[in-house]
């Protein structure tokens, strides 16, 4: 077996380009996924005692509708493979748009499709993380807050939020790393991320060992950075 270090050196610029794209998709994906996840996670428990008191009047049916919409989103995304979601968005969705509207040349950029897919996919899993953490906040703390006469918004912002967030960090770490690795699946819609770059170099020089080892190490470095950032946030938060 021969191992050529020069192969790695030569392919490094292209691989780094791919890694950069992987990183961009991941960061946009998890930022958007957090927004999506917090909304859907709170949506799944809207109007329940986990967020204070049950609402009365018109807010009661509204909260039920919000719960169904959020649950529908989470179950749809969790119940289908991410690769199918990406292909649907990239190939099928434009056809759907063409079929139901007059827009002839509607298409989604591969990179855009990748980012949107990660956002919605991560969002569904993060929603469950948010829901689990919020539900786990001791009910007595909500009662203590309510008994001071604060609003529901203040209760969520200043009591439920900070306590739940601290509990979310370890499972969020999992999800962020999974999302980063999921970007490798966008090879199927032609996004030039790290895995695809590796695949292309490999196809031209057939140096599987050097290329895939380098690719693996690059993923490992990126996931380590993610994990360490979360550890840092966790340590910076007060211990309780």
């Amino acid at each position: 077996m021969d191992f050529e270090l020069s192969v790695i050196v030569e392919s490094l610029p292209a691989l780094l380009e791919g890694a950069k794209l992987t990183w961009i998709i991941t960061i946009l994906g998890i930022v958007g996924g957090m927004v999506c996840g917090v909304l859907a996670g709170l949506g799944r428990i809207a109007g329940t005692e986990a967020l204070g008191e049950e609402p009365h009047g018109i807010f009661k049916p509204i909260s039920i509708v919000i719960r169904y919409i959020s649950a529908g989103y989470v179950e749809t995304i969790r119940g289908t493979p991410i690769i199918v979601q990406a292909m649907f968005l990239y190939f099928a969705f434009p056809m759907l748009v063409k079929a139901v509207t007059d827009i002839e040349r509607f298409r989604i950029e591969a990179l855009t499709a990748a980012v949107i897919t990660i956002i919605f996919n991560a969002g569904a899993y993060i929603a469950e993380i948010v829901r689990g953490s919020v539900v786990s906040v001791h009910k007595g703390l909500l009662e203590a807050g309510m008994s001071l006469g604060i609003s529901r918004f203040q209760l969520i912002m200043y009591i439920i939020g900070p306590i739940a967030f601290r509990r979310m960090i370890p499972p969020l770490g999992n999800q962020f790393i999974i999302s980063l690795k999921d970007t490798s699946l966008f090879i199927v819609i032609g996004v030039g991320e790290l895995t695809r770059q590796g695949q292309e170099i490999m196809a031209s020089n057939f140096r599987a060992l050097e290329i895939w080892l380098t690719v693996a190490i690059m993923y490992l470095i990126m996931t380590t950075v993610l994990a360490m950032s979360l550890r840092h946030i966790e340590r910076k938060m007060k211990i309780f």
Partner: protein, 246 residues
């Protein structure tokens, strides 16, 4: 003196179980009312109906001239005037002692930060915890936590304080320090207090009225000394004999 709390024909059910049966109770401003009774008798539920942590099934609760359930939209106003101290303290674990106490003034009373901190520090001083202001709840003993919780309830300047078995979760040697704080509030501030407790000594010393509940009803009430000396019902006699033996 006017009635600050009135319960009129209050019933409360959880599912099919009725835990409060037709309760009528009036509490005057400045009165210290102690509620005793066996577990499951509805004492906690009764005081939780006063600040609307439980919504009553029928009847009416009037607190500071606000009637519940007809003025449901004003529940927050009721709570601003009715503080509560819990058996399990329920301090916010992510906030320091002084932040816990300042939280109500800051968020519920919309005070500025320095004013709220000043109020909080004064109150912590009053409950003897000035030097613990920057500790997190997890770093405090049970008795200390409960004293912070009392300061937190006082900080929004309520007219009424509810105590839901405030010493039941404490080690015996810490009960005294919490009761002392409660006694000084009762004596110095003229605060209306409704206290669910098993501490008969506290009831005798600072209670204006003692209420004995059993099975969701008020069975006996009167001056604490008299009620304890001359219990009328068998159930109270039986209850007192059990409490005294421990």
């Amino acid at each position: 003196m006017s009635n600050i709390i009135e319960l009129k024909n209050v019933c409360k059910s959880f599912g099919n179980t009725e835990v409060l049966h037709n309760i009528d109770l009036s509490i005057q401003e400045g009165e210290v009312v102690v509620i005793i009774g066996p577990s499951g008798s509805g004492k906690s539920t009764l005081i939780r109906c006063i600040n609307c942590l439980e919504l009553i099934s029928s009847g009416e609760v009037v607190v500071n001239s606000i009637s519940i359930p007809s003025e449901k939209g004003k529940i927050r106003q009721v709570r601003l005037e009715v503080g509560m101290v819990f058996q399990q303290f329920n301090l916010f674990p992510h906030l320091t002692a002084v932040e816990n106490v300042a939280f109500g003034p800051r968020k519920a009373r919309k005070m500025n930060k320095s004013k709220a901190a000043e109020i909080a520090k004064n109150l912590l001083n009053k409950v003897g915890l000035a030097e613990f202001e920057n500790k997190l709840p997890g770093q405090l003993s049970g008795g200390q936590q409960q004293r912070v919780a009392i300061a937190r309830a006082l900080a929004v300047n309520p007219k009424v304080l509810l105590f839901d078995e405030p010493t039941s979760a404490l080690d015996p040697e810490m009960i005294g320090e919490v009761l002392d704080v409660m006694k000084s509030i009762a004596k110095d501030s003229g605060m209306t207090m409704v206290v669910v407790t098993h501490e008969m000594g506290f009831a005798a010393q600072v209670g204006d009225r003692l209420i004995f509940m059993d099975d969701g009803r008020i069975v006996e009430e009167g001056k604490p000394g008299e009620v304890m000396k001359n219990p009328q019902s068998e159930r109270l006699k039986d209850f007192l004999s059990h409490v005294k033996h421990h």
